[in-house]
Symmetry: C2
Subunit: 135 residues, 2 copies
């Protein structure tokens, strides 16, 4: 029983600025992308910061998504953690992150992928090599 946690840092995002500054726009974007990816949102919480950024957490049936925006740096951090409890959600997690990266249009991006085993420690120590790609 394993899970996959994707951590993406998106730099110099050139997509629509409202997705970095407007909690409601960011929420709508994320929930739509989650649905299109075939994942199931069970609840969400989006917070607007005074400085213009926003933070969102979405509880999924498959685990969670978390997103933070720093419009002053045009930076977004994105987490998608899916467990494979009842099916393999790996492709869905990749699809979700790929779609959001395409919308945020970062000039540079870094992803980490961490396998998180749920039933034994050994397998959880695997960390995939860093994959670096222009946005």
């Amino acid at each position: 029983m394993d899970g996959l946690h994707i951590l993406a840092n998106l730099y110099r995002c050139a997509g629509e600025p409202r997705y970095l500054t407007d909690r409601a726009a960011l929420r709508g974007l994320c929930l739509a992308a989650i649905e299109r990816a075939g994942l199931t949102a069970l609840g969400d919480l989006f917070h607007q910061f005074d400085g213009g950024g926003a933070t969102g957490c979405i509880v999924l049936a498959e685990s969670h998504v978390a997103i933070h925006t720093w419009p002053e740096f045009a930076t977004v951090t994105l987490d998608a953690f899916v467990c494979n409890y009842s099916r393999d959600n790996t492709a869905r997690a990749h699809g979700l992150v790929d779609e959001l990266v395409a919308i945020f249009r970062p000039e540079d991006a870094v992803r980490h992928e961490v396998r998180r085993d749920l039933t034994a420690a050994d397998a959880a120590t695997r960390v995939a090599p860093l994959r670096r790609a222009a946005g």
Copy 2:
């Protein structure tokens, strides 16, 4: 401008079972630990699964905490992501995770620490060596 994301997988947790099965107990535990660690919770969302597990996401002024429980495996996954926007929150994140690990009492645990730079891609590629420790 960097941040620290700690991902911990806790196996064979021998602490109080209610923290793995009761959304309200888990929420109270997390919010109290966050306050004791000196971090600031701005909102939270906890979901109870039919199977007995729970998921919680807490939006922090410093970024977020996410926790999932699988009581059927006595497993907990814990994420603490803190940015160092206005101060260095590294010690606070370590303190929070250490305290929750002590309460969940896992027989085995795996932690990953990922530095997440907010302003440049280069520094974000650093991944600390895995630290494995009995709970």
